[in-house]
């Protein structure tokens, strides 16, 4: 795949926004940063650095709430989303790795795939580590893995613009009209120095790997999990922001006309009733069991074998959102200590 020279990243964005809806992370004016639609006439400079946005891009594919089917009293009707072509602009490597993970998990889910197939992914490689991130330790960044994005932006060290790496046929097609000159001089060296700089900044987090080893060796006692469980508010913050969390619950409602709508909504394995059965039996009744489950799902070897990657991509969002201090550093960092 080719690498091109790109003087002005905003030109690329305007071009892509002409024929699709384009989303980028922007300040919402109230202290928050969210994915927002950006039109083809928008000249706002891209701000690629900094912490990843509070919400990952999973909501574009695995919708927070969506209709699965309807029932009109006689028949069931499936309800696949009609998705206009869209581009997610400025995705960090960790979030792209998470999308690849969910692509595998939802490979057979028609709702997810309808959204995903309509989407162009444009990544941007980080030059500095974000504040809680540890992507280099879980092999999800800062460089974007091959094939994980349609286009990837790499900022030049000399501040003379960007390289644009093309990662797919759809990416090549999307920029064809821009006729960008090919040039990969220095690109690889810059990427390697970015990778080294980020890895160095994240070196202190190596204790997390001890935690992962302890978890997989079954060295974390039930008492430790229960102690951690006492810090869980069951607020579902972590499962909402985690880019690889994928659990959902059904929501069925009857409209005024008598039509039944069956939706699915994001759910959380940290909720007490997540596994409660109609009989009253609850196989994960204690908070410690549920906290353990969350982390096994992120770092357990059986899941890594199945998906070719940890369920955690090292974005650090759970640390930022957890009111009980049991995000990834609070748990995995803790259970690895001798």
């Amino acid at each position: 795949m080719s690498t091109h020279e790109l003087a002005e990243v905003e030109r690329l964005r305007r071009h892509l926004a002409q024929s699709r809806r384009l989303y980028e992370v922007r300040d919402d004016g109230q202290g928050g940063r969210h994915w927002q639609e950006v039109g083809p006439k928008d000249f706002t400079p891209l701000e690629p650095e900094g912490d990843p946005p509070p919400f990952s891009a999973k909501l574009f594919f695995f919708a927070e709430r969506e209709l699965l089917f309807r029932f009109d009293g006689g028949q069931f009707y499936s309800s696949l989303p009609e998705v206009r072509p869209q581009a997610i602009f400025g995705l960090h490597a960790c979030d792209l790795q998470a999308i690849a993970y969910q692509d595998r998990f939802f490979a057979q889910d028609p709702h997810y795939q309808a959204r995903r197939h309509a989407t162009l992914l444009v990544g941007v490689e980080c030059r500095e580590s974000c504040s809680n991130g540890f992507c280099s330790l879980v092999e999800s960044g800062p460089l974007v893995g091959d094939g994980l994005a349609d286009l990837v932006l790499v900022r030049r060290d000399d501040a003379r613009g960007w390289w644009l790496r093309v990662g797919s046929a759809a990416g090549a097609e999307a920029i064809r009209e821009l006729r960008l000159p090919t040039n990969l001089d220095g690109c690889q060296a810059t990427r390697e120095s970015n990778a080294a700089r980020v890895a160095l900044a994240q070196l202190h987090d190596r204790e997390l790997l001890d935690g992962v080893a302890a978890l997989n060796a079954g060295q974390v006692s039930a008492d430790t999990w229960e102690t951690l469980g006492t810090h869980c508010f069951g607020c579902s913050g972590c499962t909402q922001v985690c880019p690889t969390c994928s659990c959902f619950a059904p929501l069925e409602q009857v409209g005024a006309s008598g039509e039944v709508q069956h939706e699915r909504v994001w759910d959380s394995c940290l909720y007490e009733g997540f596994q409660a059965e109609a009989s009253g039996h609850n196989p994960s009744a204690s908070p410690g069991q549920r906290v353990q489950r969350f982390w096994l799902h992120k770092f357990g070897e059986p899941f890594r074998e199945q998906f070719g990657h940890y369920g955690c991509v090292g974005c650090g969002r759970c640390d930022r959102v957890c009111p009980g201090g049991i995000g990834v550093h609070g748990v995995i960092g803790e259970v690895g200590r001798p």
């Binding site: 889910d109 659990c247 059965e277």
Partner: protein, 278 residues
């Protein structure tokens, strides 16, 4: 791609069959070839419009016409709504899902242990064995609290004529066997010498039966249990039915005992405390 939309299902009939339990006959609208491949021990998602979906096992799998039976105990909102329906009403159906019981009748001597409603998922398999006159190969021990808790009354009459079938009750009247299925293990093992155990019922019963069978010489890899988990999707997506790194809707609900122990990280002796129920 997976289809998450139910197919239309007709409620044909139902009758009372045990305390708070009814025996339902359904018909799938436009049955398809894969409906005929349903195995005993698999399950389906039943949609009660306006309430939701829940998993149930088959008493008899769908036939050519899409007819099948299920034994359903009243447990909550969804079954309350189901029990209020009348023949001819429309429901939704997705399935079959999950793994059923292993089929290995020829050289094996199979002991089936069921507790309460746990007899239902085993019914298709017992039926097959009794039809094929495999009385020397399959015997059943069925436990329940009281006789009104017993299910599948008509089927049991038939089975008792065809295969060794022991019934035992926690609260037994004079002339009835008393105790749990485990209380009769010494006798069963002395007479039929099983080398394979299939078990379905409360988790405490299943784990107890599995442990006792291992003590009586059955290999853990020749024991199967059927686990109950909350299920919303049936296809490995919603996450609710996890057991360790496995989803019961895909890899279960029937698990080989040694694999189940590996999944839960438990050994024979410590599995029980974590898994009490019913």
């Amino acid at each position: 791609m997976i289809d998450l939309t139910p197919r239309k299902l007709h409620l044909l009939d139902s009758y009372e069959d045990g305390r708070d339990a009814r025996h339902f006959s359904f018909r799938i609208d436009f049955p398809q070839a894969h409906d005929l491949a349903t195995m005993p021990g698999q399950f389906f998602m039943l949609a009660v419009p306006g309430v939701g979906e829940a998993p149930f096992t088959y008493v008899s799998p769908p036939n050519l016409y899409g007819h099948f039976n299920a034994l359903i105990r009243r447990m909550g909102n969804l079954t309350d709504a189901l029990f209020a329906l009348r023949p001819g009403d429309t429901l939704g159906y997705r399935g079959p899902f999950g793994k059923g019981w292993p089929l290995f009748f020829s050289p094996r001597r199979v002991l089936v242990v069921a507790g309460g409603c746990g007899l239902a998922p085993l019914a298709g398999l017992i039926d097959e064995a009794s039809r094929e006159h495999l009385s020397s190969r399959l015997s059943v021990v069925y436990g329940a609290r009281r006789d009104e808790d017993q299910i599948l009354a008509r089927e049991r009459l038939r089975w008792k004529l065809a295969i060794p079938f022991i019934e035992t009750l926690d609260d037994a009247a004079a002339g009835q066997r008393r105790g749990t299925p485990l209380d009769h293990f010494d006798e069963v093992f002395a007479t039929v010498q099983p080398d394979t155990l299939l078990c379905c019922g409360p988790e405490s019963l299943m784990l107890g039966a599995a442990r006792a069978s291992v003590e009586h010489g059955i290999q853990p890899s020749r024991i199967w249990v059927s686990l109950e988990r909350r299920m919303h999707c049936g296809v490995g997506l919603c996450g609710h039915c996890y057991i360790g790194a496995s989803y019961a809707c895909l890899d279960g609900p029937t698990y080989r005992y040694d694999r189940f122990l590996a999944l839960t990280g438990a050994t024979d002796s410590c599995a029980a405390p974590a898994l009490q129920r019913c």
